[in-house]
């Protein structure tokens, strides 16, 4: 593992116009320092793939407020009125995806699957434009894999190899996103020596992590 990056250095690796997966659920388990740096550098035109856009001023909401996001692929925007306003005003495109389908699409992207068949969304607007496939007499929607240019993750511990652990409900989308992007940047709460995290407790292997952000001061 090379030396850890500052949040600003990490944000500089996210080009304008990039597709960016961001971990977190209502801001819990989001890489808040990198998000702040990304907003501070004035990133533009990002496609954000995430569970939600959190709240104004918090988590991914910070990127929405700062006008960094051109498009988002999320399952929920109910607690962020700014997202809703920008969507209705046509300033931002919002693609709504059922949460379980979003998790599977990202997992499929990272796992080399061409898609998964799910019953979720059948007979709803989610079906629009999608292929319906019948398997053994039951109908499913074909949902395609999602990948991104960059994944921005939060983790609990990272060791010097960037093996990662997550904590309680701050896991959420972070582990699947770690598999599904070209550049993977992880922001840890703690950094520990190699060997401190037992092999059975590692959740994301360092070999998947392109860059580690330094621990908070």
């Amino acid at each position: 593992m090379r030396k850890a990056l500052t949040a600003d250095e990490a944000a500089a690796l996210v080009p304008d116009g990039a597709s960016v997966m961001i971990g977190g659920f209502m801001g819990v388990g989001s890489p808040h320092r990198v998000i702040a740096a990304l907003a501070a550098r004035g990133a533009r035109g990002l496609t954000v793939i995430a569970n939600d856009t959190a709240r104004p001023g918090h988590g991914i909401g910070v990127l929405i407020d700062a006008g960094c996001v051109a498009r988002c692929i999320v399952s929920h925007i109910g607690l962020n009125p700014v997202t809703q306003k920008k969507m209705i005003a046509g300033e931002m495109e919002v693609e709504l995806v059922p949460q379980g389908t979003l998790a599977e699409r990202i997992r499929a992207g990272g796992a080399g699957l061409g898609g998964v068949l799910t019953p979720t969304g059948l007979g709803t607007v989610v079906e629009d434009g999608k292929q319906r496939i019948t398997v053994d007499g039951r109908d499913y929607l074909l949902e395609k894999p999602l990948r991104a240019d960059v994944a921005l993750l939060h983790c609990y511990e990272a060791d010097y190899y960037a093996n990662l652990t997550y904590r309680l409900t701050a896991q959420n989308f972070n582990p699947v996103m770690a598999m599904a992007a070209k550049i993977v940047i992880a922001e840890p709460d703690e950094v520990v020596p190699i060997g401190v995290i037992p092999p059975d407790h590692v959740r994301t292997p360092g070999i998947l992590v392109t860059h580690l952000v330094e621990r908070p001061h």
Binding site: F25, M26, G27, V28, G29, N51, D52, A54, R55, V74, S75, H76, I77, G78, L79, Q84, M87, I88, V94, L96, P98, Q99, G100, T101, L102, A103, E104, I106, R107, T118, P119, T120, G121, L122, G123, T124, V125, V126, Y156, Y166, R167, L168, T169, A170, Q171, N172, F173, N174, P175, V176, R203
Partner: protein
């Protein structure tokens, strides 16, 4: 007893021992307060935990431990924390005995709408579509009517959450069960007359001569 407590208490009677149950945010969350004594129910929060408890004492909150609404919670001994792919594998895979969800509308076919009002409010479906598709039983916990407008309607006017009918609708006025033949009125809330329920319901209801009162 206010409307929400009636609903939560009645829904709690649908809980079964040693089963996995998901409660939606808002009113459904209240159901956890009324678990029948001696019963062990494993509650799942779809953001990634089975076995969560009430908000911890002040100063002991963990920013990495919240419910699906982002509010602080605690974890009970024997809890299990997991990622979103696992969470929805549990939900979609039929491992939930029951989910309790809020509702904007339910129609005569038992279909639920609960995630957007075109032109007005777009919350997003979050986990609701997976929950309705995957849980063994789907219980809708909602006020019977909203500002005088019926929420139990002949045909959804809002976008459906799923084509799959829900299992039971519990309101402050009634318990209604969708069946292939239509909606069946199973119970009245304490002191609520049949006429009051019919007046507040836009969909046709089937019922026996003597609809019993809920026991709360």
């Amino acid at each position: 007893m206010d409307a929400k407590e009636i609903i939560a208490r009645r829904v709690a009677q649908e809980l079964r021992d040693r089963t996995l149950v998901n409660l939606g945010i808002g009113l459904p969350t209240m159901v956890a307060r009324y678990v029948p004594e001696g019963m062990l129910v494993a509650f799942q929060s779809e953001n990634g935990i089975i076995g969560f408890g009430a908000r911890p004492p002040e100063g002991m909150e963990d920013p990495n431990l919240t419910d699906a609404g982002g509010g602080f919670i605690s974890a009970l001994p024997g809890a299990f924390a997991f990622d979103s792919a696992t969470s929805f594998a549990l939900i979609r895979g039929g491992h939930l005995a029951m989910t309790v969800l809020g509702g904007l509308q339910v129609d005569a076919k038992g279909r639920l709408a609960n995630w957007m009002v075109p032109g007005k409010m777009v919350a997003g479906m979050g986990g609701a579509m997976d929950l309705v598709s995957g849980a063994k039983r789907v219980v809708v916990a909602m006020q019977h009517a909203a500002k005088g407008e019926a929420k139990i309607v002949p045909e959804l006017t809002l976008p459906p959450t799923s084509a799959r009918p829900v299992s039971l609708v519990v309101t402050d006025l009634a318990v209604i069960e969708p069946t292939p033949e239509g909606l069946v009125l199973r119970e009245r809330a304490p002191g609520v007359a049949l006429e009051e329920i019919l007046a507040a319901t836009a969909a046709p209801l089937m019922f026996d001569n003597d609809v019993p009162e809920m026991t709360l």
